[in-house]
Amino acid sequence: MHALLGKITDIAPQQATASTAAAKVGHQLEVSLKAACVLPDRTKLPEWLQDQTLKVQRSVLDAREVGHLGDSIVLTPDESAHLLYPLEVEPTVVYGELPPTLQLHLRWWKDDKPPEFSVRANGRLQTGQWTKDDTGYSAAVATETFFDLLPKLPVSFEISCDKLKVSCTVLPVNEPSARKLLLPQGEVQHLENSWYAVDVTTRSHAGAIAAWREKGREVNHFEAPANLIQRAVDQSGYSDRYRTGWSWSDKIKDVAMDVAGARHESGATRLALEGTVEEGINLRTSAVCTLYDELPLLLWQRDYSFHKGKNDEKEKDAKPKEPIDDMQPMGLSFRAAARLDRDAAQGSRVLCADGKRLVVVREAEAHQMVRHWYWRMWDGWAIVEHPLRHEYQMYVFDRETPPHLVMWTGIHAMTLEPVWPTIPVRPEESVGYAVALSAGERCGATNAGAWVACRSRLPDGSVQCAAICRLRSAERVTSASTATFALAGTVQQAPLKSLLLPGVGEVWYAEAKFPQGSMDGAFDAKVAGIASRQQDRLNAHPPENNNGGDNESV
């Protein structure tokens, strides 16, 4: 979450209230400030905060904690939210039917009277005036006047006021869709199927996954820590990175992407992004996010391409060059961060396999970076497991050139940061990788393979279950190989089916539908003979269940 850093223009002592007196607070102060930048990156202010005098309350033991006129003051994310995101609409996303009214709210401090708002949808425009309330200004807008007939979904209502914009989007129930959302925090590309709702930010990181909601349980696998000043997708989210030297380049963090297209095509919704990472060396990048209609499965493909540098013409008469001069070393990685459950025995951890063994890594201390350079994840998968909250994310990648396992344990988050070794790249060549993502509420992992399963409710009241699986040895999958789903005491078997993902290779999946299913009842699965990691298995560990052999039958 972002927050404001301002400079103090006035400090006015306030009368102590009963609560501050009870709390033995030394000083109750009203601090006036002019915002200077947005933390944590100290980026420039949004236009509506330029030259505005803002006020915050401070209860402090020692007035020197606040400082003097001209000093800096840091607002908390909660204090900053209404200043950074002053225009809100409720609801922002709704399914199936138009909401009868849109509730608009505005915190306005620039002039005595806020400018009128406008709502645009279906080619129609409606403007209106705000009504003052306790926390700012509000308005209610009926939606029926925008459509003569029931519209085909999705549709969006775009609300504007001055330079502020937000939207309310009405999505179809249980139909795959891709839509741009104008959230108070900024624009995201929203992809949805019956399993997941995924928000891709295009404003930074050359495109990154900012939210990954499992619709069945309404769990956001990339939920950010609350009220903590943090970079977008730093503590929660998926982002890509590269390096042309020792360190990961920071340049990609500031790269905004153009949306090259979002469309639904046979069985999947695709979002394509394009951008330029470094002008000088003419490094361009593209990302394609594909959400499969019928499966809890997301495919993310990242490419970097080098083109002839813009200065090549100028350098014709410069010093002589050798082929090595045009070569760029290029190392690749992604960084998937998720909230950390810190518990040395049962907390968050990473599972993967190196071709023989199941590897389990759970660091007990903060600020631990684990790098394994001497082996690679030959089985082409890694699972980030949060047993205490039953959240599991599986990342599946190419087995021909698998990455090394790198992970980091922070204070609030744990990351998976697979690293592909640096390779030489010439102008007009490209490098990249693809990774398939699946998240759910059960997982299984042994040295024979791994899976993640989840469930979601369908509009007819039934519950669908599916598992995505990566197996070490596809030859061992027979026509009789199945996945078993158990939902609230009912058991179903489903055949394992193969799916070839570009850049990732073969994954297996199984799906089942429970007409009388429940989202509240117990859910479990067993896939290709690999049981789920239940409580009694949480502390099973490599020396016992992994003797280096391929000892799990499929």
């Binding site: 927050a3 402090v60 840091v74 025995a345 190196d354 890594v361 631990q368 922070g410």
Partner: protein, 405 residues
Amino acid sequence: MNLFNPRTFSTDWEIMVIDKLDRLVESEKLMALAGLLRREFDYPLDIDWMTLEFAMGINTSLDQIWERIQQVTDRAAQVVREFDCELFPAGGHPLMPLYNASHVHVGTIMNESQGIHLENQMMKYVPVFGALAANSPASRGQSGGFKSYRIRHQANGCTRPGFGRDPHLAQSTWGGDASPKMQGGLTMEVRILDCASSRRLLAEMATFVAAYVHYRGTRVEEYQPSPQEYEEHLTNRWAASRYGLQATFCWDGATCPVVEILDAMLDECAAELKDLGAKRSDLQLLNTMIEKRLCQADFVLDLATRYPDPWCLTSSYSKLVRHWDVFDEYLTTASPLEPAQPFNQESIVAEHLAVIGEGTHFYRSRETMLYPPPVADALIERMVEDGTIKREVTAERGILLHRIA
């Protein structure tokens, strides 16, 4: 015998400089500020990583160093304010992996061999100095686990425990908690001390540390700690980093609150203090800290409870410590703290177990309390026997430890 002649001392005080966007000023620009100050003061003022390093010249008394500290920092504060910056004296940065020190140089030592013997002897006492100076309880976004994260993390390699050197087998070293440093001035350098936030405390602490080292310099003899003694020194060092002046040390075969040891050390070096123009009653802050078991870290921890976000903490913390005496005031009003329980074998095992998750490389355990291999290995063996961990030996990944619930 008197290893130090003449008796002198100084400090290298590393102080960050922060601007009005709460950014730390980079080393390149600090060079210019240090250069400006160096033109005005005849002290070797310089920079270290992201800090101005206030080297206070050669001092012979408490009054002298106190005067210099005030003069130099008053002027430095004025200089940086011309660029809308402030001095930010803190042992750790609440957000960044930066640790700062107030090294104390004790002179004048002519005999490096004797200095190495003294270094070995000082291993017992440097954890006491570490507890006294603890002032980095907020670092890299976390707070409260240790009163000196700087000591816990060996100041990113810049203060490490001694290891019993033999002058006949010695090479030049750097970065020990306390060791002779004769490449420039002829001093015994005590590096374990976290950066002070209080000017007066720094003056008192530097004087006391110097006096105590001078005192030990009258008793130098060939000394190598026994394995048992060495283990105790390292345990005490750990206790200092975790508990500051609440720590209870293993001391001469018994357990003893560190404040009682400190109290005795202050009395032991009364004559040397006198040589430095001081008597114990001049060290008001130290006496109150001993009485209340409070160190600077406790002040920061109180602040951190009110500013849980490290950005907000950094902002308020930097504004308070620029006044130099907030800790001095805090000492007068804060309530005394209780001593922590002494470490015993069970709690030592627990400390080691706490760093082990799953697939944890066994060297994490080495790094916990920095025990030498036989002691650290015995602890791993004990945990294996207790059934709290399992050990896995792999060719590619080395020795891995797995916690069992």
